[in-house]
Every structure is written in C-alpha cells, then in structure tokens.
C-alpha cells in the first residue's frame, strides 16, 4: 500500500489503561506511550458496565481486521473483572464472527511499573501475524 504508514497491528485496550484513575496511575506503565512507540493502534474498550451494543460493534471491527491481515492483541489488567476486557462477553462475540481470540497480555498493578512496561514493550515488539499472512495482505 504505497504512501500509507499504517502499522497493521493494534490492541484492544481497557478503559483503565487508557484513562487510568489517579489512585492506580502510578502503578501502571504508560500504555498509550508504549503502544505509540511500538506502532500499534488502539481499540478502546468501555469502562465496566453493560455495553452490549458497543461490544458488538467493537467485535465487528475486530473481525474485519482479523480477516484482512491485521494483527490484533488484547491488553488486560490483572485483578480487574474480565481483566478489564469484558472478556466474558467479548470472547463469544469474537468466536461467533469466526475470529480466533487475540493473544492476551495482562499487566500487573502490583509489580513495578517500569518492569511491567518493559514486559509489555517486549510483548508488543514480538507479536505479529506469520510472514506468509503478512505477504498475502500487506501489499
């Protein structure tokens, strides 16, 4: 795709990592900055609550990406309900659309934020689709 800068990778990200509340902000790595540095886009998941329609809309978008050569991962927060990912609702929506569940990386607020940041950066750098899949779609 000449003249196009897209990175072909993106992450499902809980609201708690995009807009961390003050009490836990310092305990978490700066996920937005790490995603930007790694060339990932963001799919923002809503905060806790009932968001059936919005989750269905997000699942539709993930399916479209997953079926066309994009790499999608999910970042969660250890200790949050559903890891902050609404996983109990989202996983069946993805399966129903024929999408393999994205690899999940959980961030631990009880571990040093700098160490968790390095661990996340390593995960983001190391993940992509197999080369033959990339060649098929990313022209």
């Amino acid at each position: 795709m000449s003249g196009d800068a897209r990175g072909w990778r993106m992450a499902l990200v809980p609201d708690a990592l995009i807009n961390p509340p003050d009490p836990i902000r310092a305990a978490l790595p700066d996920v937005m900055r790490l995603l930007e540095a790694s060339g990932y886009g963001v799919l923002h998941l809503p905060p806790p609550g009932q968001h059936s329609l919005l989750l269905a809309v997000i699942a539709d978008q993930v399916a479209e990406y997953a079926h066309h050569g994009y790499a999608v991962v999910a970042l969660g927060v250890h200790g949050k309900s559903g890891d902050g990912l609404h996983w109990r609702r989202l996983a069946p929506l993805l399966r129903h659309r024929g999408v393999p569940l994205p690899p999940r990386h959980l961030i631990r607020p009880d571990v040093d934020a700098a160490i968790e940041g390095q661990r996340l950066a390593g995960f983001l750098a190391g993940y992509d689709l197999p080369v033959e899949e990339q060649r098929r779609w990313r022209v």
């Binding site: 897209r6 886009g41 994009y70």
Partner: protein, 200 residues
C-alpha cells in the same frame, strides 16, 4: 457523599487512535496520531474513542468516497446504530457535569467536523483523477448522526473541531496549531466560568 470533580473528556474519531481504520493510502501514522494524543493528554483530557462507521460498513478495503456517496438511508441507519452504542457513555459524562469535547477528522465524508469532502458526480468505476473532490464546510455523515442522537437525548451540542488529515494536502504543523488553539480557548472559557461563579 463527596461530589466527584468534573473530568475533561475528549471524544475522538476512531482513526485518531488507530490509523489502521483509514481508507487505503490514507494512513499518515502507524497507529496513534501522536500530536493529537499528546495535545489532549498534556491538558488533562481523558479519551473516549468513537467507533469507525466506514470500517464497520464498507470494510478495511473500501474505496475512497465522498459525502454524497455515503449519504444513503442504509449508511445513515448504520451510523445511528453506532451512535446509539456510544451515546450512553457520552450521556453519562455530560449528566455528571464533565466537560466533553469532540475531535473529528476534517475532510472526512463521515467524521468531518468543520469540513467534509464533496463531489456529487463521483460514482461508478473508481478511476477518478487525483484530488478532484472538493472540501466544503459541513459535518460528515457520522458526525451529523451522532449529534442528532445526542440531541434526541436532550444533550447539549458539544464543542468540536477536526484534525485536518483528510483535506487533500495534510499540514501537520498547521493542524497541531489549530487543535492547540481550540483546546486553549476551552481553557480560557473554563477559567472565565469559574471566575464568574466565584464572584460575590
């Protein structure tokens, strides 16, 4: 019970946090549009990402299109469904007294705020000469439908601007200046409101 302090929330067009949503050859960044993210974060805004209506309707391999091509009953119905999906979150913020602003994508047929792209005779075989569409001062279809949904809920119009990524030739420095001026004008307005309410 202690009242929570109002928060500052920026509704952002989907592709400002994920350039993979852009139409082919339309992505100027790998993922996040960092100048927008930094301008908002440095001023204390939280993010609320809007769904991408074009991606969910016409897919990631869609053709480029102008306002008139998306101005169909089916696309508007699709946008209304997306608006109904995200509106409860926006409503929650507004009812709580949070400051909510909207950052769209100027020039986009869907997410344009100040400008959209127009060419009434586009259609058929996609072999148009380069840059033959026009930029007109008008909302995109998605923004029109989102604002209509918020109005149906009795919510006020949101202060809004657009990041000028789809205006033909993209000028990042100019777009950044525009956005910062808009955000700083919000700060001035907020200070004025606080001063007035504190006055005896």
């Amino acid at each position: 019970m202690e009242k929570k302090a109002p928060r500052k929330v920026a509704l952002v067009a989907n592709c400002l946090l994920n350039q993979n949503a852009k139409v082919c050859q339309g992505a100027n960044y790998r993922g996040l549009v960092n100048p927008v993210v930094e301008a908002l974060r440095s001023r204390g805004y939280e993010f609320l990402q809007l769904p991408c209506p074009e991606l969910a309707f016409a897919g990631v391999r869609r053709w480029w299109a102008v306002y008139e091509q998306y101005d169909t009953p089916a696309y508007r119905a699709h946008c209304r469904r997306l608006a109904q999906a995200i509106a409860p979150l926006i409503e929650q913020h507004l009812r709580r007294g949070d400051e909510v602003i909207l950052i769209g994508l100027d020039g986009s047929p869907s997410s344009g705020v100040r400008f959209t792209s127009s060419k009434p005779d586009w259609g058929g075989r996609p072999n148009r000469p380069e840059d033959d569409w026009e930029i007109v001062p008008r909302r995109g279809i998605w923004i029109e439908e989102l604002e209509a949904e918020l109005a149906r809920r009795g919510l006020p119009a949101l202060p809004a601007t657009g990041w000028a990524l789809d205006m033909g030739r993209f000028d990042e420095a100019g777009s950044r200046r525009d956005l910062e001026q808009f955000l700083d004008s919000r700060e001035v307005a907020a200070v004025t409101r606080r001063d007035k309410s504190a006055a005896p």
